[in-house]
Subunit: 347 residues, 2 copies
Amino acid sequence: MSTSARMLSLLSLLQTHRYWPGDELASRLEVSGRTLRRDIERLRDLGYAVDASRGVAGGYQLRAGGQLPPLLLEDEEAVAIAVGLRTAAAGSVGGLEETSVQALTKVVALMPAPLRRRMDALKAVTDTPSPWGGGPTVDAVVLTTLAQACRDDEPLTFDYEARGAEVTHRRVEPHRLVSLGRRWYLVAYDRDRQDWRSFRVDRLSSPATTGPRFRPRELPGGDALAFVTAGFRQIPQRYDVRVRVSATADQVRWAVGRYGDVSPLDDHTCLLEMKVDSLEWPVMVLAQVGAPFEIETPDELRDACSAVAAHFTSAAAGQQGRAATVGSHGPAVADGGGHGGRVGARA
Amino acid sequence: MSTSARMLSLLSLLQTHRYWPGDELASRLEVSGRTLRRDIERLRDLGYAVDASRGVAGGYQLRAGGQLPPLLLEDEEAVAIAVGLRTAAAGSVGGLEETSVQALTKVVALMPAPLRRRMDALKAVTDTPSPWGGGPTVDAVVLTTLAQACRDDEPLTFDYEARGAEVTHRRVEPHRLVSLGRRWYLVAYDRDRQDWRSFRVDRLSSPATTGPRFRPRELPGGDALAFVTAGFRQIPQRYDVRVRVSATADQVRWAVGRYGDVSPLDDHTCLLEMKVDSLEWPVMVLAQVGAPFEIETPDELRDACSAVAAHFTSAAAGQQGRAATVGSHGPAVADGGGHGGRVGARA
DNA sequence: CCACTTAGGTCAGGTTCTGTCCTGAATGAG
DNA sequence: CTCATTCAGGACAGAACCTGACCTAAGTGG
């Protein structure tokens, strides 16, 4: 075994357990104790923080140091990392999307095929329910393929299904990936149309890098993010939700997380503001808060609430038909406003 | 620069870009082209899949191979990985909790202090709203400290706040971490009480490994998971939710994700079954489905729905007081049952 | 066909690595 | 306190390895 291979093994060993007796390490690496000590010294020279404790039950230990040593992962761990990063890249984390994709690209690029299959297999399991999942989920392999193509200036082909139109085949020079809201967009120069376009990543399938690298063009304006947002002229509808809730700001904040702004009005009421594409979310949040509230905008939210109320009323009324008979559980209303304000109990 | 350091640099370089011309690599590593070719050969001998393409614009490339090479990460990437793994370990992924913690332990153990601070700083941002966040969030550092102590048989001290009781200081021999539902438990031998105990990780603070390693004892029965579940004699309440929903199974499944069982009854109705500690969740799901439904069990869900219905009805009625006047938006109700069944529109 | 790029054999000279043997020093148990 | 255990590291000789220079072969794309 060569020296460099041995160093990698040593690093790997030091990462699996905390303490390693020198003897053990030496015999595992099939070298003498002296050489092991030299190897450790080499590692330290490289900047890795290898601690040692002497005496009985002493040993070597890899500590957090000034720099990050190479991570030597088990297969399953790599899969876990990939899955975690995919979730983060899908926008559930906030502010980390770009870096997550960057790291994901590294991991996926190095994953042997069987591991990649395992990762894909876990995609289904890992989906969170709808509004949190953020509509269509991005595919990790698709995303990393695009990221890599952008990074390395490789021409790209893929199938694209534009809004409502049929599927077209595209040949582009990828420029940059942009994360906006909880969606990913690819900004690229379309070779056939000879112009810059932005593509929604979740509408894009079977991407493949093809041919030799190209000389990158300059995006007019330079700002890929601005280019994407400029394309948003006619977003179908976007609701500006403003609701006055009879609960403390903390209670509401707890329910809405970081996806809305909550500002207290007084001790018992606060204002909830959200900008959303669909009304599902505010409805869920309001249902969860379990306190009385007043809708300022939009009117569509009134209709949505009304529909939910109708279903809930008839369901609450039990099996005796579906007539809307609200008020029969009046006391429950009084309960909602005051102390806890939440529906049900928490274990 | 020594050979092994150069190999690590080479690996690192090959991980940042896709294609590297041999010249470029050689000059960066400050060796001759011949030596570079030998280094590449060495890497290949080590099992890494280094591809090369010849001709104009050719170069070297690190491909996915039979085994996973060491990952060399940028600082920010490591943070992204840690954050992603923490989310996964918190139970939002399913089936990957153990492996995630394992990987997280590796990453966190090697992270220099500034990075760890960055990771902690991102904790707040990354929280998902309540029922999905799963109550109290686990702290990455706490979790990894425990995992490491278990792995390395190191005695542990921490403060523990049992259910309702005051905070006590514990000195234990950690045995294993168990993920159950969306909570983490530490199974350990309590040195003061001289008996085995299980601790909820989210009730545990300022853990610290202390003193020399101990000789691991054998857990009676051997099965840590069984030990934890055996402690669950008197869970306060656990609801068995059964609801008949007037919507297709797919619609309901879409809303509930993987946290409940949905079985179709006929083309327009299905049965939703969930086992939950609190009723928030089923209420949210039902609100989101936006279809009529009938509650089979439990009766408490009726009360909860009734409360929500009352709030929603008065909110829907607008600013003209809070009298419950359902039915004024009748058409919206009719809309709910049929085609889409979802509240609001989707962008 | 030509320019460019990786692939790899050979060889001499120098560098580095290894194991052995040795002395020191810190640690914790009895 | 004493002793066994364990890491730390200097010196040395011989072997192993690495490096750069030079050369030829072969694949790729214009």
